[in-house]
């Protein structure tokens, strides 16, 4: 009887401590914790390839499409390597973009221009610029390393019927186009469901929503659809991801300057 009470008390005490522990961690620590957990849950995917259709729409509702293939290689201890081959529109077919993201410091980027068979190293200072005329900036599409932001947990909120953490993150790089981003992570799987982007004047610039999440290798979640709306211009860009394949056995050789030309 005694032991039972003691055990019960001990349990109560532990849960109290846990609650107290949460209460004691600052919103900054809490935000970082959530970002680390989200990152940890996506670690170990190895590599992936997917087809991507980009639908660019202006405020009059006129749209144009781009199609590309995106390969990703997870690099342990650093940012991912990404290789993008363009297929449509046809005049840019064969153009390719290679990016080595780094946790700290500027990324390395190369562009392949098929008309001249030329590989050109380009500046990665363009991170806040639009990626191929879309509403996605380079920094929105590059791999989201924990170290690229500082964090602050804001509140819990139900978004689209899912319990979420709402976390603000502040880009470390002064070249970023944003003062802050507000991210809705679902508590179940730590997936980003929505991001609000605030421009350098701290005005709401864009909102990105992630739709139709699918799970791969019984672990990694990828949204089939990403919709970015620019509130200031009325333009939008939808990304439609198709044919995700994981575990391709890619190596660094599939992500070097030669591979810009060698595959499509």
């Amino acid at each position: 009887m005694k032991t039972k009470t003691r055990r019960f008390l001990a349990f109560q005490l532990a849960s109290l401590l846990a609650v107290a522990g949460f209460a004691q961690s600052t919103p900054e620590e809490r935000g970082l914790e959530i970002a680390r957990e989200a990152d940890a849950r996506d670690t170990g995917f190895g590599d992936s390839v997917a087809e991507l259709e980009m639908v660019l729409q202006n405020r009059h509702g006129e749209s144009s499409n781009r199609e590309m293939k995106m390969k990703t290689l997870e690099v342990s201890g650093d940012g991912d390597k990404t290789l993008i081959h363009f297929d449509r529109p046809r005049d840019v077919k064969g153009t390719a973009f290679l990016s080595f993201t780094h946790r700290v410091g500027p990324d390395d980027q190369w562009l392949y221009l098929p008309a001249l068979s030329r590989v050109k190293r380009i500046s990665s200072n363009n991170k806040s610029g639009p990626f191929v005329g879309s509403e996605f900036a380079y920094e929105d599409l590059s791999s989201q390393e924990v170290e690229k932001y500082t964090y602050r947990y804001i509140r819990d909120e139900v978004y689209e019927g899912q319990d979420c953490f709402v976390v603000e993150r502040y880009p470390v790089d002064p070249k970023s186009g944003y003062t802050r981003q507000v991210v809705w992570f679902d508590k179940q799987e730590y997936r980003s469901l929505k991001i609000d982007f605030y421009d350098r004047k701290d005005a709401l610039l864009k909102t990105l929503v992630f739709l139709d999440y699918q799970q791969y290798l019984n672990r990694y979640w990828r949204a089939d659809r990403m919709e970015m709306v620019n509130h200031q211009t009325g333009k939008r860009t939808d990304l439609i991801w198709k044919n995700y394949v994981f575990g391709n056995g890619f190596t660094e050789r599939d992500f070097d300057q030669r591979s810009l030309r060698n595959t499509r």
Binding site: P89, D91, P130, G133, S134
Partner: protein, 393 residues
């Protein structure tokens, strides 16, 4: 005729859902002034360009087949008419080894205003005076990829002659080059086997390349001779040469610092030349989506004023505007200024996609105050506007 043959030859591939793409384009050129040289046509000229591309990839073994013929018909200058195989090659990637066999195109270099170290492929000077159009080169190309960079060996059987504008064409010297009667130093003429070595690497912010080339100089000397009936003709003279070269780029923030240098040795000449400069990009100009790239490059040639090339002691200043819009609109404009005599040549290139399948390109070249001693003097009246509309598929 050849097109029908092509379709037949490639029919088995098509069944495997292989990929065809390409473009057909109409090009028109208008010159501001009447021509300067005898025989030149003063009317606007038109050209039709056709370049289909076939591509197929296999995964195991890792093979890549590319085929890209090119056809150009011209309303004015028969020397501008060309059928070329730009690409007909098979690439085999085997781990760290790559082998490419066939006709292909290779680009070396980092500079924008001149491609000094870009040696392998012959320039199609009839196509455009900017020298960016190249002819397909037969090659066997081995590459070994290592942690110390990519080591390449080129065996280049078969030499391609440079294409020059003909008698009726503009953008030439006072005499048209007699491309039917080239002179070769090598007894093998255009069947000599040329050789090149290439090393390419990147370390952090630095991209570096070195090369050695031994073979027939792609850039001919021009020899004045009297032809039939004593009329003077200009014959291209293709000399043998040894060349070493360097290309280097430092990428720091918004700055690209660039350097290309070569040293050439041949029976008639021994010299070195370089082009170096920067490209600085101002992103999101005035809060818009526009980027403005500022370009500055310096051209030097150890032969100084006596160099038989336009880029002996010249400066290039220019800018590149990129709209970052859905039509991929861009404008590049610049001026080549001779530091010795002030002769200036202004060039402008604009492009924009129209709808999903069309692209419009506008090009303008205007020589300003070309001095008599400048190699561009014979082209001083060849200010032109060119418009190209391409349909891609």
């Amino acid at each position: 005729m050849w097109r029908a043959g092509l379709a037949l030859a490639l029919a088995p591939f098509a069944a495997q859902a292989a990929e065809w793409s390409g473009y057909i384009a109409g090009e028109g050129r208008i010159f501001e002034d009447r021509p300067l040289h005898a025989g030149q046509d003063s009317d606007p000229s038109g050209a039709l360009l056709f370049e289909p591309e076939f591509f197929h990839e296999w995964e195991k073994p890792e093979l890549l087949f590319e085929f890209s013929p090119f056809l150009r018909l011209d309303s004015q200058d028969e020397e501008r008419e060309l059928f070329d195989i730009r690409e007909l090659s098979l690439l085999w990637v085997n781990g760290n080894w790559e082998t490419r066999i066939g006709i292909s195109k290779v680009f070396w270099g980092v500079a924008e205003s001149q491609h000094l170290v870009d040696t392998i492929n012959q320039t199609d000077l009839a196509a455009n005076p900017d020298g960016e159009d190249k002819l397909g080169q037969p090659m066997v190309h081995f590459v070994y990829v290592s942690d110390f960079g990519d080591f390449g060996l080129f065996l280049l059987p078969g030499f391609r002659e440079r294409a020059f504008p003909g008698v009726e064409g503009r953008l030439r010297g006072s005499l048209a080059v007699d491309t039917d009667n080239p002179i070769y130093e090598s007894s093998g003429e255009d069947e000599r086997l040329d050789l090149a070595l290439r090393w390419k690497h990147y370390i952090g912010d630095v991209d570096i390349g070195l090369h050695y080339f031994r073979g027939t100089n792609r850039e001919p000397g021009l020899v004045l001779q009297s032809g039939d009936g004593g009329t003077p003709v200009l014959r291209p003279y293709y000399e043998l040469m040894d060349q070493v070269g360097l290309d280097l780029q430092l990428t720091k923030g918004g700055w690209l610092w660039k350097l290309e240098a070569i040293a050439r040795d041949s029976a008639s000449d021994r010299y070195s030349a370089m082009v170096g400069g920067f490209e600085y990009t101002l992103y999101a100009l005035g809060g818009s989506a526009l980027d403005l790239g500022l370009l500055g490059e310096v051209h030097l040639d150890s032969r100084g004023r006596s160099a038989p090339v336009p880029f002996n002691r010249d400066v290039f200043v220019g800018g590149r505007l990129t709209w970052n819009d859905e039509a991929d609109t861009s404008l590049i404009a610049g001026a080549f200024v001779d530091a010795d005599n002030g002769s200036t040549n202004v060039r402008l290139e604009f492009e924009r996609r129209l709808g999903r399948f069309y692209k419009l390109e506008v090009e303008l070249q205007k020589p300003l105050g070309i001095e008599e001693e400048d190699p561009l003097y014979p082209l001083r009246r060849d200010s032109y506007l060119q418009m190209t509309l391409s349909r891609y598929w």
